[in-house]
């Protein structure tokens, strides 16, 4: 039961990354604002809502929120992405960090934990 749930989350993440790719490639219907970094709600499923954000350096951030959490507003999600972007930029500027490696920065982790606690 537990493994099935984990696989579902992975599948959700992969699908949402595909949606992100679709949005930034610009093919198909005209998109809302091509120049914006925030992508908005990628797609809702029955249990989760997935939001996307792509930086100019092609780094993709995905936030998955429980559908039962209706109190989170759009601008709160936007500010969460900005905080993530800011703290990711700090990680990138750390000369000991090798781009592409998993992030091990404590500062980054604490920002993410604080955001998750605030959102709940």
């Amino acid at each position: 039961m537990h493994i099935k749930f984990k696989n579902y989350k992975l599948k959700l993440l992969h699908t949402s990354l595909d949606v992100v790719e679709e949005k930034i490639s610009g093919v198909g219907k005209a998109l809302a604002d091509q120049r914006e970094l925030y992508l908005g709600l990628l797609y809702p499923t029955e249990d989760y809502k997935v939001y996307g954000y792509v930086t100019n350096s092609k780094v993709k951030f995905v936030i998955v929120v429980d559908s039962s959490n209706t109190s989170l507003r759009d601008n709160e999600i936007r500010s969460m992405f900005r905080k993530l972007h800011n703290s990711f930029t700090d990680v990138m500027c750390n000369p000991f960090y090798n781009p592409g490696d998993p992030i091990q920065s404590k500062a980054f982790d604490s920002i993410v934990s604080t955001m998750m606690v605030q959102a709940c």
Partner: protein, 150 residues
């Protein structure tokens, strides 16, 4: 990762000195690459998404160059087929050397880091390239960017 190489126009006496110099220049270039990656992350944090490759090059020539060297690139030329030449008539890292032929052969050492900087910045914007530089008249220099198809 180590595709960009710094092609230098210089003459050295002795093979040993030549090899050592080449290694140092490569090292400078790769250091510049890593710094360029970090810098571009910071500089593009609040900018809107880039439309195309030319947009990216214009950003490098204006905003990026201004943030790093306090001036813009003086001239950008392209053949619209992936080659760009960025001309800086008063390159900050060369202005403290006396103009004229005396230090012309040492100029490439001062350009290696910047070549890496440009290559690293472009790399993180999704553009793979080879960046070389040449100096003909101090303190002017030209950076040549060759876009590599991914």
């Amino acid at each position: 990762m180590e595709d960009g190489r710094m092609r230098v126009k210089c003459n050295f006496s002795g093979d040993q000195k030549f090899l050592e110099n080449g290694r140092c220049v490569s090292k400078l270039e790769s250091m510049g690459f890593r710094v360029g990656q970090g810098l571009i992350e910071r500089f593009t944090k609040d900018t809107p998404r880039f439309k195309d490759e030319l947009d990216v090059m214009k950003f490098i020539c204006k905003d990026f160059w201004t943030s790093v060297f306090k001036k813009q690139i003086d001239n950008l030329r392209t053949n619209h087929q992936g080659i760009y030449v960025l001309q800086d008539n008063k390159f900050r890292l060369l202005t403290h050397l006396s103009a004229g032929k005396q230090y012309l052969e040492h100029a490439p050492k001062f350009l290696a880091f910047t070549c890496g900087l440009v290559r690293g910045a472009l790399s993180n914007l999704g553009v793979k390239s080879i960046v070389t530089a040449e100096v003909s008249v101090m303190p002017a220099c030209k950076f040549q960017v060759m876009i590599q198809k991914m």
